[in-house]
Amino acid sequence: MKYRSAFDIIGPVMIGPSSSHTAGAARIGRVARTLFGKLPTKAIISLYGSFAKTYKGHGTDFAIVAGLLDLDTFDERMPKSLAIAKDLGLEVVFQAEEAVTDHPNTVKINLYGGDDELELVGISIGGGTIEITELNSFPLKLSGEHPAILVVHQDRFGIISAVTSVLSKYQINIGHMEVSRLDKGEMALMVIEVDQKIEDMVIEELSNLANVSKIIRMAE
């Protein structure tokens, strides 16, 4: 089931005018910001389908940027986010794409800052609910509604067992988990949605595991 909560239907509390094109877009932007871990210096935002056709009227542009600034869906500064971004030194480029995507509300966000880069694809499926479908070319499914751990690692035997053993030790229950890899033995990504809050020591222990190159934590 795509929708799990009564508050997916009655909610979110948000700045208008559109739950999918404004609130959902802001949420995708905010997940990108969380995954990037800091304010980027440049963002290239590519819009597809209905997003590309109506982003001006729906405020999708300022909503995504508000998300990149870590603003909530009900933050009244949202409509001014483009000006705020400029003041903070975030350069934003919008591209309306012609390509047809699986879902009509699709956005690709490329973030740059220092030596770091991130590419994320998200879809806004209605009522403010979103799914992240791609991260740095890895296909994945992430709602952004639950605490999650993303583990970037080398594709080796035993790594899944090592990661889940750590979670088990701290009595953290896994709600959803998936693993994808670029190629056999290459870079791989583990996405683990959990029920509990993830403490710093868990992240630290996971980071020290062999063949793990990066841990990203997403709070609720």
Binding site: Y3, I9, I10, P12, V13, A23, G57, G126, G128
Partner: protein, 301 residues
Amino acid sequence: MFRNVAELVQLAETNQVKIAEIMIRQEIEVSGLTREEVIAKMDKNLTVMEQAVERGLNGVHSHTGLTGGDAVLIQNYIKSGKALGGTVLLDAVSKAVATNEVNAAMGVICATPTAGSAGVVPGTLFAVKEKLLPTREEMIEFLFTAAAFGFVVANNASISGAAGGCQAEVGSASGMAAAAIVELAGGSAQQAAEAMAITLKNMLGLVCDPVAGLVEVPCVKRNAMGASNAITAADMALAGVTSRIPCDEVIHAMFLIGQSMPSSLRETAEGGLAATPTGRRLEQEIFGSGNTVKLKNLIRS
């Protein structure tokens, strides 16, 4: 967890509780929150709805000037005593419009189930409130009943205009409101399902064709009609009228109709009212020729 309306009605009947209670119990289970926390969360959303309606009834206008002020006009007309439609009906229309005028003006609203359709559920709630005089708790229950029906539509069809047209947004909102009105008025779970079916049947095929890609024309007035549709269907169900096509089948029909709708009529501003000469002229006036500068100036001012 209920998967469709039939299961939802059966759960309520078997446990001899309201549909709202089934939704509350499920939310407690899924979220891990306590009952008090779940209720408090919905109470907050209810407060946002009250504030949005109040702001709209005081008169609000969007940045583009396309919408605003109609909620006030309707309220004044009700006060004149000349209204032909019932007071509750017109009050619901006015309060639905008020909410969506605030939404169009980029104010704070609560999506029910979406922002573009955010007027229907609170509009009808605050209008029937005047007649049924519910407690705060019953008003919160109203929102959980609406959520339960919206939950089924969202998981089995769609609540996105880009995926399923306006029938998925204002159509879903109206069905949710109709069912919640029935339960608040003391109707049975089955009668709530009948009201949802009757409402949605009359919203099937409604396209999403927003002028200039804004959530203003015709969205605000569609919320008005959605609210009146909900109240009419709720009254019909409470009178004992049933839907020949079961609610779940109506929802599935809505899904299939959405699937076969061309993209030009699913929130792309390429067809329908958006493509009329006046729709195109307004788009040109607001955005110029593919230039975003004007909108950004409007937003920053």
